[in-house]
Amino acid sequence: MSRGERGQGALWSGLAPVRPDAPLLALDARLRILALGAFALVAVGLGHWPPLLATLLLASALALAAALPLRATLKALLVLDGFMLAALLLLPFTLPGTPLFTLFGLPASVEGLHRALLIALKANAVLLAALALVGSLETVALGHALHHLRLPDKLVQLFLFSVRYLDLIQREYARLRLAMRARAFVPRSNLHTWRSYGYLFGMLLVRALARAERIQAAMRCRGFDGHYHHFRHPPAGAHDLQFALLFGATLGALLAWELLV
């Protein structure tokens, strides 16, 4: 990943919003994370088709409000569906119930198919909402938001350090690979190749460890004693409150619908 591809530091550069002034992007990062959590809980709890379809609509509305690029978003959803395909295909055969058809002597149940479609719908709605609410966040902003949501400091630090140094380790890997290729290394399925890859990853580990030690030394030089002081304090605004109320009311309505159907 080169510096340019990383773009503005968005969580996933392919999801850089089409319009930087999209309304959802102005919202407080903490609120976006909490909204996603609430959305996921509600979506997973629903069992009837009409409110579930409504959650998918709501997720699409969020995606529009975050100005997600259409192609990259669809691609991300397809990847998810690809992962789930096996599980979804097996469900009709593993869940007992009214037989719909038989394949190689195995009956597929209506209940299983129903369940598989429900799961697929929920997963897609939640992922779409996640891409819209959190996927468009800058990594650094996400880290800070997690800290302000009182997540354990160690986890937040681990996350921010990973963001900071992943790129560096990746570049180190690219340099080593290039040096191997410059000496006419072509991967084949032989012992030499496996040994060389072993050295490559071993060297990468050693270098990462040495780098970690140097970073720690540099931190100690600046008075670090194991306790981290966070510096940024993002304020929440009036439009955040409006969104929170509106979004909460919508989720509440969906839950009520579910109970009434």
Binding site: R3, R6, G9, T139, V140, G143, L160, F161, V163, R164, Y165, D167, L168, R211, R214, I215, A217, A218, M219, R220, C221, R222, G223, F224, D225, H229, F231, R232, H233
Partner: protein, 218 residues
């Protein structure tokens, strides 16, 4: 003569016991002094700087800082606040996501409040001509910018001594000129480790050499 700010007395240091890197080093840095430490690759220049702030410890000999002998991690903590070490690779030093946070890291560790730290960040960045860099993402800076920001991060702690490890590595002409101007404008005592004759010249420093594990003035 007043006592030196930092002093090594008969220091021996080895990564592998039978091959000492430093073998009887005597060196003293007084207030207002600017010393350039020259020497071949692997002659122990960086190790010497790390010994002075207690990142590594000598096998024999003594480290004195600000008038007291220093041995334990506990002894060295206050030393690191007063003797700022600029690392060879800015990527080792800049670990915070944004410039402002990185520069604030030292002052916050010294116990400054949020507002005081923010004020010091702004002052330091302005002094180095880095006005408006606060919200920049550290890993997206250029090599020259990274060097200046890591210097800002050290200066924000208002050290009395600067220990500089190859500060002109990988800088282009413009960045080099900027670095020289900044360093010449500071009044701290300095110990510089560098191969860069041009830098030593531009800073008008007294040279000493590290050869075969000892300091030579000629």
């Amino acid at each position: 003569m007043t006592s030196p700010l930092l002093e090594l007395r008969g220091v021996r240091f080895a990564y592998f016991h039978d091959r000492p890197v430093l073998d009887g080093v005597d060196l003293a840095l007084h207030a207002g002094e600017r010393i350039a430490l020259c020497g071949a690759n692997g002659s122990g220049k960086t190790s010497l700087l790390h010994l002075l702030v207690g990142l590594i410890h000598p096998e024999a000999g003594a480290v004195h800082a600000f008038g007291q002998p220093r041995q334990s991690e506990h002894d060295f903590r206050p030393v690191r606040a007063r003797a700022g070490l600029l690392f060879q690779d800015p990527d080792d030093q800049l670990f915070c996501p944004t410039v402002a946070e990185d520069v604030a890291f030292g002052p916050l560790n010294l116990g400054l409040g949020h507002d005081e730290a923010a004020y010091r960040v702004e002052q330091t960045l302005n002094a180095l001509g880095l006005h408006g860099y606060g919200e920049r993402i550290t890993w997206q800076l250029s090599g020259g910018e990274k060097r200046l920001v890591s210097l800002a991060a050290v200066l924000a702690m208002e050290p009395e001594v600067l220990l500089l490890d190859e500060p002109s590595n990988g800088l282009d002409e413009a960045a080099f000129a900027r670095l020289v101007a900044i360093l010449n404008g500071l009044d701290q005592a300095m110990l510089l480790v560098s191969h860069d004759a041009r830098l030593i010249e531009a800073l008008g420093m007294r040279r000493v050499w590290l050869r075969a594990g000892r300091i030579e003035t000629q």
